[in-house]
């Protein structure tokens, strides 16, 4: 068996394998590990914020540390935790779902991961090198320009590198879905998660360049004394806000659309029904993505763009509630009359619907430009976006992890522990953030280090902090669950959930080439069709033959390392000439790696037909 041989290899070979891998499943696992690490880090930062605010006039941390904590909490959770874990799940599941052997650009896929990882490490190095960024996750030019020290420079370099990685991931997924769908897998037969991946990738492609440019402008202004945001020389700081939200608003849909896909798959699998209104769901996703680019200025109602602009953006914002409502009702209708299994993944999905709907409702409230003057920069906004990002994205990530864990690792996460995690997290989440709506309406501004006694804010903040501890406890139980499952978990078969889509038709974990023969898709939910109309096995869509595979490479790792060093160089060249050595050295190294990649032919290799035949015979025997 291949697996036994894997276990015998040394630790060094194992690490080398992961450093050089171009296999989408392994890269997906790396993304989830990296994202999970940063999720814990961001969670710790959140705990510091909540402990500081447990009582009025608290002095648990200094004002400066508090600013750094809230900046890093937001930045880490969005760029380094939520998005990478989602991209990880996409990497693991999407190629299997569309019946592909790999992604379109396996090398680029690895490069994307390592850029994200080194970008994240660079950003977090700031904690040890003179202080983290402190201008908020939005890092508005007004604040960022005046922030002393190197904190904001780390924000710029770290996000620039991580963002480049994300952009590559997006291009890779689009090309994969457009070019590499298996035989019979038409667009309207793709599972919702594959659709969500496609549309999210398009959002990444068109949104991230705006961030790239914005970070460049901020870098030029901070490090090279240009005048984009320098009002004395005719600069304009509102440009930063526009560009940030032209990126930033699609970004929130980048976070939420993939989990809509996950929930769609989870609801239909555990209700034993095909997704209700599949086509409507696809078009609702497209509509949300399209409208997502049209509403950025609703983050800027109080800037003073004028009543006409505010009115247009307010109407656009409220229009997004329509396709989102379509989705909510379709999920409910999918469950209606279904044969429902309520397991851990389904808990998260069921908890998502009311939580996310509350967040959507406050979103419509915030979308009203007139009322927004009251809510702007208060805890009401904080409560709103945590309801959509935790109640949507984080719940979706947990659902997705429970759902695909057996496919990734061959073991089912413990159901009881999963349910305990859910209830701790769910109760803690509502305890933390429900009360924050009212704190906000009572006038508590966001991002404040302390609040005063006797303003009737004490109890609300106390409850909120207690809730945060419940969420932390839930995450700890989940970590225990992972260890428990790894040691004692039951072995999962190929299809533990009685699944409907192609990924459940192959072994768990899948062989490195995914499919011996590319599967033939005969309709939506192809495996379910074969279960109900065929013999329960997927029909091959091609004759057995040699399979072409890409070679592994250490270059993505080295290239990202080069950019990491160059990023450090950019930060420190303002202080010392040694910075230039790092800058030019790192760049030269990274570009050198690119040239090596270009000069050295990489034809990949072929898995001989005989090996695949053996695997097929073995599978038949099971």
């Amino acid at each position: 068996m291949g697996i036994a041989a894997t276990e015998k290899r040394s630790i060094g070979a194992f690490i080398w394998d992961y450093l050089t891998t171009v296999d989408h499943k392994k890269i997906g696992i790396l993304y989830i590990l990296g994202g999970g690490f940063f999720f814990l880090l961001g969670g710790l930062e959140a705990m510091v914020i909540r402990i500081q605010l447990i009582e009025p006039n608290n002095d648990f941390v200094s004002a400066q540390t508090f600013n750094e904590m809230l900046t890093m909490h937001g930045t880490t959770m969005i760029f380094l935790a939520a998005m990478p874990i989602i991209i990880g799940l996409m990497n693991v599941a999407m190629p299997l779902q569309i019946g592909a052997r790999d992604v379109a650009f396996p090398f680029l896929n690895a490069l994307g991961f390592w850029l994200f990882m080194f970008g994240g490490i660079l950003l977090n190095l700031s904690w040890f090198l003179g202080g983290a960024p402190d201008a908020g996750w939005t890092s508005y030019a007004s604040l960022a320009m005046d922030s002393p020290g190197h904190g904001v420079d780390f924000y710029i370099s770290g996000l620039q590198i991580a963002g480049a990685g994300t952009l590559m991931g997006g291009i890779n997924f689009i090309a994969t879905i457009v070019n590499m769908r298996g035989p019979g897998m038409t667009y309207l037969r793709m599972p919702m998660f594959a659709w969500a991946t496609l549309i999210t990738s398009i959002l990444i492609l068109f949104a991230f360049p705006a961030l790239t440019i914005n970070l460049f402008l901020l870098m030029f202004d901070r490090m090279f004394d240009t005048a984009f945001f320098n009002v004395n020389l005719g600069g304009n700081q509102v440009i930063y806000q526009h560009l940030f939200w032209i990126f930033g608003h699609p970004e929130v849909y980048i976070l939420i659309l993939p989990v809509f896909g996950i929930f769609s798959d989870v609801f239909s699998t555990f209700s034993k029904k095909r997704l209700f209104g599949y086509t409507a769901m696809v078009f609702a996703t497209m509509l949300i993505a399209f409208l997502g680019f049209m509403v950025w200025a609703h983050h800027m109602f109080t800037v003073g763009l004028g009543p006409v602009a505010n009115a247009i953006f307010a109407v656009g914002t409220m229009a997004i509630a329509v396709p989102t409502g379509i989705k909510i009702f379709n999920w409910l209708a999918t469950m209606w009359g279904g044969n429902i299994t309520i397991n851990a993944a389904m808990h998260w999905a069921l908890g998502f619907i009311p939580s996310f709907t509350i967040g959507g409702m406050t979103g419509v409230m915030l979308g009203s430009a007139v009322a927004d003057y009251q809510y702007h920069d208060t805890y009401f906004v904080v409560a709103h976006f945590h309801y959509v990002i935790i109640g949507g994205t984080v719940f979706g990530i947990f659902a997705g992890l429970h759902y695909w864990w057996p496919k990734m690792f061959g073991k089912i996460l413990n159901e009881t522990l999963g349910k305990i995690t859910f209830w701790l997290f769910f109760i803690g989440f509502h305890l933390t953030f429900m009360i924050q709506h009212f704190l906000g309406l009572m006038g508590m501004p966001r991002r404040y280090w302390v609040f005063l006694e006797g303003r009737e804010l004490d109890l609300g903040n106390f409850i909120s902090t207690i809730g945060a501890f419940f969420m932390a406890a839930g995450v700890i139980v989940f970590l225990y669950n992972i260890i428990h499952t790894a040691i004692k978990g039951e072995q999962a078969g190929a299809d533990p959930w009685d699944g409907r889509t192609l990924e459940w038709s192959i072994a768990s974990p899948p062989p490195y080439y995914n499919f011996e023969q590319l599967p033939l898709t005969r309709g939506l939910d192809p495996l379910w069709i074969e279960k109900t109309e065929g013999n329960g096995k997927i029909v091959p869509g091609e004759p057995l033959g040699d399979v072409h595979m890409p070679n592994g490479s250490i270059l993505p790792f080295l290239m990202s390392f080069g950019f990491f060093v160059a990023g450090l160089g950019f930060i420190y060249q303002v202080d010392h000439w040694l910075g230039y050595i790092a800058l030019y050295g790192g760049m030269a190294f990274a570009i050198g790696c690119m040239i090596v990649r270009s000069l050295k032919d990489d034809h990949g290799y072929y898995i001989p037909k005989e090996e695949l035949e053996e695997a097929l015979v073995e599978r038949e025997a099971d």
Binding site: M180, P209, F216, S598, L599
Partner: protein
């Protein structure tokens, strides 16, 4: 089908750049990449338009720009797009030598364009003291035109690496997609220049 089959030019299909799955992926991937690049340049154009009158007492666009040099640069870059089309035409006819010849001309025209641009920037900096730092207009101008120039530098370096690497081995199904993606990228740079020419220089002369 073994990989070696793809390396025999005699048996190559008429569209070698898109005959393999890798080729198709590269073709598709580069188009999507250009989609992202479009947004990148759109942002820079937006910034430029917003800041072009913020001269902070320094030189303005009417003081600086002269259309003669820019016209010459435009001719160079637009012709280089045409020559890269010729190169791709010869690639599809499996005429490696002519392809390399036209690619070489493309590269030379690109270098000519770049030389003019460097001269132009030096002229502004030395004679007008107009730099990246002198005003918001200066920052926006050098950011937009400089980003375009940076893309030209990248394109020329890419072309040189491609030509040297493949100089002795001719065309095959492995490197044909590489030449083709370069050519697409080069067209994109050219299209962006058309907008730079219009928005920066023509509109700058009018106002």
């Amino acid at each position: 089908m073994s990989i070696d089959h793809s390396l025999f030019p005699e048996t190559m299909p008429s569209n070698p750049e898109r005959a393999t799955l890798e080729g198709k992926n590269k073709f598709m991937g580069l188009w999507f990449f250009l989609g992202g690049e479009t947004v990148l340049f759109a942002c820079l154009f937006g910034i430029y338009i917003a800041l072009k009158n913020s001269t902070a007492g320094g030189p303005s666009s009417t003081d600086l720009f002269g259309l003669e040099l820019v016209f010459f640069m435009t001719v160079l870059l637009l012709s280089s797009s045409l020559t890269s089309v010729y190169a791709m035409y010869h690639m599809r006819n499996n005429d490696f030598k002519k392809m390399m010849l036209w690619l070489g001309i493309t590269g030379l025209l690109g270098i000519g364009f770049l030389a003019c641009e460097i001269y132009e920037f030096a002229h502004y900096i030395i004679d007008y003291d107009f730099t990246f730092r002198s005003s918001a207009f200066g920052s926006a101008f050098y950011a937009l035109v400089g980003f375009h120039g940076g893309h030209v530098i990248f394109g020329i370096s890419w072309l040189i690496v491609l030509m040297i690497r493949n100089a002795r081995r001719g065309l095959n199904l492995y490197n044909a997609p590489k030449f083709n993606t370069f050519s697409l990228y080069w067209h994109f740079i050219d299209v962006v220049w058309v907008f730079v020419f219009t928005v920066v220089y023509l509109m700058g002369m009018v106002s």
